[in-house]
């Protein structure tokens, strides 16, 4: 009886330990995935900013958003950092679109242009 109880106890403890490890693995994996996703987002936002800059149409809103996002990421607020990087990327993509439009259509703003 004692032997059965001891085996049961061992199994229960083992199960709990396995469950705990599985949970913490999942948690770690989630965290890594989040950080990696954020870094990828930051990279793509930075690349878009560079492209807007190369075209000569960078907005002055982009770099402050990236800076604030980095600061927020370091403090551990990944959700807010994600929003800031996403906004920076959106601004950069709009600046690129603006550059492309200007390249094709800038003469339309000249008076009497057709």
């Amino acid at each position: 009886m004692t032997r059965i109880t001891s085996i049961s106890f061992t199994l229960i403890v083992g199960f709990l330990l396995m469950f705990n490890v599985a949970c913490s693995d999942a948690e770690d994996s989630g965290n890594n995935k989040g950080t990696i996703g954020l870094e990828q987002l930051l990279d793509s936002a930075e690349q878009a900013r560079q492209k807007a800059s190369d075209a000569g149409f960078e907005w002055n809103t982009i770099q402050p958003l990236l800076d604030k996002g980095r600061e927020t990421m370091e403090k551990g607020d990944e959700a807010l950092a994600h929003d800031l990087f996403s906004e920076a990327k959106a601004h950069a993509e709009l600046a690129i679109a603006q550059a492309n439009y200007a390249d094709k259509h800038w003469r339309l703003l000249i008076p009497n242009s057709e």
Partner: protein, 278 residues
Amino acid sequence: MMNKICLVLVLLGFLSVANSSYADPESDLEMIRQYYQEMFPDVAFEDYANGVYALDENAREQWQEIEEFPPYEIAVDTGEELFSTPFKDGKTYADCFPDGGIGIKQNYPLFDAESGRVITLELAINECREKHGEKPLKYGKGEIASISAYMAYTSRDNPVNVIVPDDPRAIEAYEKGKKFYYSRRGQLNMACSTCHIANPGNKIRADILSPAMGQTTHFPVFRSKWEEMGTLQRRYAGCNKQVRAKPFELQGEEYRNLEYFHTYMSNGLPANGPGARK
């Protein structure tokens, strides 16, 4: 035979498209003068040199009162002193410029065929310093604005005479400046022309917008907002920031080309720098 006719027609079509999208500087100048004349038939051509004060009587009266004790006067005196002070090698700024640097502001920016670049007065001042072993001055304000103010003062009433020579590099620089002027940029999606071609005389917040023609004649200026002197390119950077675009480096290629086109639009107007502005 039919193929040749088709080829000629295609070429003629291409040329007409190319021609419709490009205007030479002289045609641009003629167009812009006519455009403003139609927009403000009561404003005399020479009065455009006074910028926004050509358009609004109340603002003009306030400006004239400011001009009774001009806030740029100290800068002119400082500039004269700096201009005359010899460099370490004994030379002065006068050795770098035609006519000893007196009465020449109206010719800037100019296209330098040797270097293939647009040279503004402030760039020429710093290149003179470097040629004579001195460190270049910081652009935008301070000593460079004072020297420029003095040189502008000696050039008063000379008609602005920016030349775009028949050199493809000069025409390219002019076209780049023109493209900059007419391109929307920044989060507010505004071009220089949005305010100063399409809307002069209208208000932006509490300020009346000035016409593009005549904007460059009175620089450098003492601007009340700055509480000091500043150059034209400092103002460009400010305008870019106001539309939430990242400004360019002062005296970089972008702003030099812009200044080239922008000043060419004021050809024929009297140089009247330095000026006082809000």
